[in-house]
Amino acid sequence: MKPAAFDYAAPTRLADAIDLLVAHADAEPRVLAGGQSLVPLMNFRLAQPGFLVDLQHVDGLSDIRLTDDELVIGAMVRQSTAEESADAAAGAPLLVEALGHVAHPPIRNSGTIGGSIAHADPSAELPAVALALDATMTAAGPGGERRIPAAEFFRGPFETALGPDEILTEVRLPRRPGGHAFVEHARTHGGFAVVAVAVDLAVDDAGTVTRAAIALSGVGPTPIRATATEQALVGTVPDAESIRSAVAATVAVLSPAGDVHGSSETKVDMARSYLRRGIELALDRAASRR
């Protein structure tokens, strides 16, 4: 389990990083962030890029900025840095809660926010968070910069809207006061989610849901929005029964692929259970913050 040979560069400027990707296009280059997905794949020789552009020294990719209406996280911010950041906790508590489920601290000490999102593992936590929060991904390439909404970013398992010479530079998460919850089932603690649910919602003084955004991981080729559940909740004061039927609306259309961790049916059962739990927890928190 040793990686195949490759050439390596560790530029300090974003433009140089992009130039390197372009210049080495024939070597199937990849950017290297924290390496916590890429290096295992290379050790298994499931990935054999001929050239790696290490982003860790690139200026400007490791900042966390909190403004009045959004949290902007540089792609190279380590997961543990984000987890411990007061700005992140204030700006996107859902993200911070989800990070607690991403592998274990020694992995998060290397792994980056951008790496997780760019890797787009269908079982990963952060893509679901990005989707639920309607995040925007900033990509820089030879043609300049562009912004990609989460809904268009995740294209398939390990597949995103990024071009081969594009670099994800930051993730912009709109601030949304209300209640959040991130819940999941993993086979053992720190493992990838079998099913994960990210919930972000708001209620008014009467307890009426004014906004609901819910995303799931593990039940499809990409994270998916539980749109039917969101619609069923908004405008109502949910109770146990209405939550159940709101959940059922999403669950009815799920058809996840089975794998060693669970059959399709079991994943549906899990989605049903965790959707309910996530919604209940988020409602509780929203109510207590009102």
Binding site: K2, D7, Q36, V39, N43, S80, P105, I107
Partner: protein, 167 residues
Amino acid sequence: MSTREITLTVNGRRTTLSVEPRKLLVDVLREDLGLVGTHIGCEHGVCGTCTVLRDGRSIRSCTTFAVQADGADIRTVEGLAQGPELHPLQEAFWEKQGLQCGYCTPGMLMRCVEILERDPDPTPQSVREQIASNLCRCTGYATITEAVCAAAEVMRSGARAGTEVAS
């Protein structure tokens, strides 16, 4: 493929060496620097036997290329004992039998160093939660938790004694 020159500070000692970019940090530590206390168990980040500290934080040295650690401060199990004197964590692992085969032990110790540097007074439950990052196939973890709590106590009183002396 060409090699690159990198500088590592390992257990306080600076070294410059020339490595192939693909060489994993764990292999550089073990083969180029002869620090075989850092073990290899899975080479895909799960087991934790290769855990070392990079700039004070635990990482997997099997999923890190040595070139990525250029300029970093690395601590390994070999840096824990001071001559004949074991680190309080090593003492406590011995006393509580926090090891059987010893294969997970160096990685586990380094993870526990980080845990205690970040929280010198952890509860048993918080230790259990935090050591979930590292597998041990032998002990069933109970004695490791005990050992970390015991070491924390020794280190706290040592630290107090230390300040008294210093002041």
